[in-house]
Symmetry: C2
Subunit: 616 residues, 2 copies
């Protein structure tokens, strides 16, 4: 019941949030006060009337969840939680300080942060993941609220999220878009054309409501209306003013990201007035549902069961391994971008359809959705062609800042995919995933390794990447072989090896062929399978180099910079080992795999030639 | 005039295109025949009735342009050009062969390819760029036709392109979306809900028409209707059947990317029948406009004009350099993603507003648009925060396959941006851009270098990346200094240096402070500014190492893997030099720049400590 006292109380709260936002950013001499001010009424309504949550327990699985997609409004978020009693008010003074968890844009260092935002256009995808979890996995009745900016809705990923939310009938997801008409460097594309936003979200299948974003009754009515909408998500398009509440800031150019001077703070405070409501807010408690995810890890993962002589692609090993993992770990979920019949995520889908989410050809949203699922304790495996994983690099980058527990799987690596040509070839994926801080990067060379590494990365806490290949390859390892992260396999060695060849995937098989050819000519080499590209087995690499004239040759189906060769280089960088890299130089082309391996200098013959050239 | 004979002739042509598509892919044992078959009527109409082009001159600037966004329908494209007489029919037999320019997905090796496609959802952005060029730059009246698939319209970048096309009133741009309801691994999200597509494009401001994509009169009528639409682009939503024309393929699951067996080819040919029309097609000639781009490079670029003692950010140097470049080179255009007041692309915008394109917060489309502009001979500088450049990695990857001449500029690199925190910090951008084959990567340390490098990369043919910093820094170089790509600057050296410190950007300034501190303690080091990260100056690095105990210390404001340190490592990899890397380990946080440089171990004190530790 929206009594006048409630309305007045919420408006007063909103004023407090404005005051905090201004003071915090001025104290920090950094931040975005005007962007906070346009959304203050909405946030007040959400935090002090609409959302059901325990302000003293961020981890309660039943809490309604709030995602600040327009992450630069972080001060507003912190102020709301302070007013809710979740953090002390004084903490707000520490905004952006180096030892404060109240960072410039939210990160999980802030206990209520859950996820990191700040790269625009990602929050709605995260919301999709959190909502999917609530509706289909944990089967809890929490609702998910995502606050977006208008400028950020130019990001395509917002529309990917919008489409998928409709497809999955996420009626527990509510977006609010704060249309203040001002971007960073100029007015937004649509300015105050509220109807344009409403029409577009409606066309994408949402229930779309337009309101005056500073009219508290309308805000409450809209949030209430959203609760009654079944089978589709709701988007509330709120017409607002950036800098609302202070005359010299309201809808004025040039104030994005600009804190007020002390003098201006004085003037602003006069206009905002002293908050005076004595309305006693009761934050609604979350529901009492229990999480419908069974205890994880019941039993052991079924081991590989390949027959000697079988030829199986590592992407096949991944598919089998993921399904086997799914059998024992109910927290594992699978997301794929309309490539499941190629990545082999299809096997998991067939076994556990309730834990598989088709994300269609929209990789950015797929990753954002995984971030949301990870924030709710799931272990997402996200698969597509390695080449298309690059589509989501910013989302992957942000997932690291979110400290997400996501396992990325890129198939169809390298030129060895053959005739489809370069647009489909992952040739920079190792560079991309190695750059992610604390990532694990693994590159199995046979199906046994692929299966086992699925389990290994699932056991590892944090971001991991598995690189799989398209072609069928012979088995290299017995079914019982183990593949600890950070290890490698010395497949060939003797006491008089003249060089060490290091490889993984297709080029490992080429290296073994090269070994045979060289041996026939009386030249011995060591061959190492670096299935763990990051972390790489520095100890073994150094040992092998020291026994082989300090000469390492790295061969990879990847561009020259950033891949396996660089991982090896780094391992031996301070030891003066000579490292020679063989990789794909220049943009490749369509052709048969074996022809391409030859043309781009990474097949067995090329390795033989390189060894002979080096050992003289 | 759509006579019956014309209609019959075009249907017959479409049949020929189907026959070619089937035969080509079966011969190659690889490819996507059914995807070609759904679009054959549309392509027939475009190539043999609607488009005005010279089939013997791909470079005629007045040609209507066709972009195959659904790049896996490449056989259809090649077949159309063969039927138009642009290439010999026999050439079609070479599809996907290693020495054929008819690759699995179009690349510029095919003279009519212009750009590479194959990573879905990018073609409409490219079309935006080509259309912008026609309407606003070259002022020619060619029209741009983009053929999209339905599955690919799940990609957010399609909606970014749609929004920008409307914003720029691109009435010379026509999209046709081939709605056959089938994706790769399953039916698409919307299946045959044609109205959903129509409503969405209409909501995004397009003139949107739905038709039966196999009714030739309707196709012609729609294309004709598009010609009369002013001030907005047109999207034709065509209801089609994948595999149209052959009963056992039409709308059947499981045929994506599957060539027919010889036996099935026989059956298919029976159904398709023998093309029998004798209709004589005349392909309409392109207009006779002349390109309205003045002769490039009139005069020399104005030199830097800084005063001694000035402190200027390298992003400021970029802004000034770009405007000065624009003064002499009319082919240079600037695109920015609502960050122009931060990247300083704003200077160019103020001087040359007709050559500046605000792309709003939509980096993927910004890059695709640049690919289109580059294909029409412009030199696009694409700027945003380096962190947000990762949003467009797949588009950047494809721009390399397109052989585009784009200069990417990423500002706000590293932790040195300070309090905004990690979501805004570029810490993996060097890794990303180094991985791009044949890219040039430069990282100026003062405003003089930044200005000069803008001109250097403009003179370089191909993809380049300039990394700029947020903070103001002291000048290091006189206004006349030159910065050839592939060079470096030895800023400090003597005959008894004990180590070489290699850096760029903020850490170069820290290295110079470290030099002073060490010198005061009687320890001499060489200091090198590697402004050219790729290619890196191997010769000078080796010379310096050999004079300094074979000891190189690299210091960078970037994550540990893939950046400046790895560039240096690669240069000395085969020479047994010991390389020590100092970089940002782990996700950083908000804080003052100087505090962050200390916390993450890359400030002057840390460098001093490292040198002392190593020289003993």
């Amino acid at each position: 019941m929206t009594s006048d006292k409630l309305i007045a109380g919420l408006q007063d709260k909103a004023n407090k949030l404005r005051i905090h936002s201004i003071r915090m950013t001025t104290k920090a001499a950094s931040g975005h006060p005007t962007t906070c001010m346009s959304a203050a009424d909405i946030v007040s309504a959400l935090f002090f009337n609409t959302m059901r949550y325990d302000p003293h327990d961020p981890s309660n699985p039943n809490n309604d969840r709030f995602i600040l997609s327009k992450g630069h409004a972080a001060p507003l978020l912190y102020a709301a939680y302070a007013e809710a009693g979740s953090i002390p008010i004084e903490k707000l003074d520490t905004l952006r300080e180096i030892d404060s968890e109240l960072e410039g844009h939210p990160t999980p260092r802030f206990p209520w942060g859950e996820v990191a935002t700040g790269s625009l256009g990602q929050g709605l995808s995260i919301g999709v993941g959190v909502a999917l979890n609530g509706k289909y996995l944990d089967e809890l009745d929490y609702r998910v609220y995502v606050l977006l900016g208008d400028g950020e809705s130019a990001e395509g990923s917002v529309w990917e999220a919008a489409a998928l939310a409709t497809h999955y009938k996420l009626d527990n997801l509510v977006g609010i878009i704060d249309v203040n008409g001002l971007g960073q460097s100029q007015r937004t594309m649509y300015n105050f054309d509220i109807e344009s936003y409403r029409k577009r979200f409606e066309a994408f299948g949402w229930h779309a409501i337009s309101i005056d974003g500073h009219n508290m009754s309308k805000i409450l009515a809209a949030l209430d209306e959203a609760k009654g909408v079944a089978d589709k998500p709701t988007m509330i398009i709120a017409h607002t003013l950036k800098g609302k509440g202070v005359s010299f800031l309201e809808d004025k150019d040039g104030w994005h990201g600009k804190p007020l001077t002390e003098e201006d703070v004085g003037k602003a405070m006069k206009e905002l007035g002293k908050p005076s409501s004595d309305y006693e807010f009761t934050i609604a408690s979350p529901s009492e549902g229990t999480v419908n995810s069974a205890t994880p890890v019941s039993g052991e993962i079924a081991p590989p069961e390949y027959q000697p002589g079988e030829e199986v692609a590592t992407r096949g090993g991944f598919g089998t391994g993921l399904a086997k993992l799914g059998a024992v770990n109910p927290l594992v979920v699978s997301l794929d971008g309309d490539t499941k019949n190629s990545t082999y995520a299809q096997e998991f889908m067939e076994a556990y359809p309730d834990r598989f989410f088709e994300c269609f050809i929209a990789e950015q949203n797929m990753v954002g959705t995984a971030v949301g699922l990870s924030s709710r304790g799931k272990i997402p495996f996200v698969s597509t062609f390695g080449a298309f994983m690059t589509r989501a690099f910013d989302h992957i980058r942000m997932s690291a800042i979110s400290d997400s527990n996501i396992k990325y799987v890129g198939s169809h690596c390298g030129i060895s995919i053959g005739q489809d040509g370069p647009s489909q070839m992952a040739l920079e994926d190792l560079a991309m995933m190695r750059a992610i801080p604390n990532s694990v990067v693994v590159y199995p060379s046979d199906a046994v390794a692929a299966e086992k590494l699925v389990a290994e990365v699932a056991n590892h806490q944090g971001i991991a990447y598995i690189r799989t290949s398209r072609p069928k390859t012979p088995l290299l390892y017995p079914n019982e072989e183990e593949f600890p992260i950070g290890g490698c396999k010395v497949l060939r060695s003797s006491d008089n090896d003249q060089a060490t060849v290091v490889a993984a995937g297709i080029t490992l098989h080429e290296s073994l062929k090269a070994y045979d050819a060289l041996k026939a000519e009386g030249v011995n080499i060591s061959v190492i399978d670096v299935y763990s590209v990051k972390p790489v087995d520095e100890k073994t690499l150094l040992e092998s180099s020291s026994k082989t004239n300090n000469t390492l040759i790295c061969v990879e189906d990847h561009y020259y910079d950033g891949g396996l060769g660089d991982a090896v280089l780094n391992a031996v960088a301070t030891h003066g080992v000579r490292v020679y890299k063989m990789a794909v130089k220049g943009v490749p082309r369509s052709g048969k795999p074996e022809e391409l391996l030859e043309m781009y200098g990474i097949n067995a013959e090329c390795i033989v030639r390189k060894v002979k050239e080096l050992v003289g």
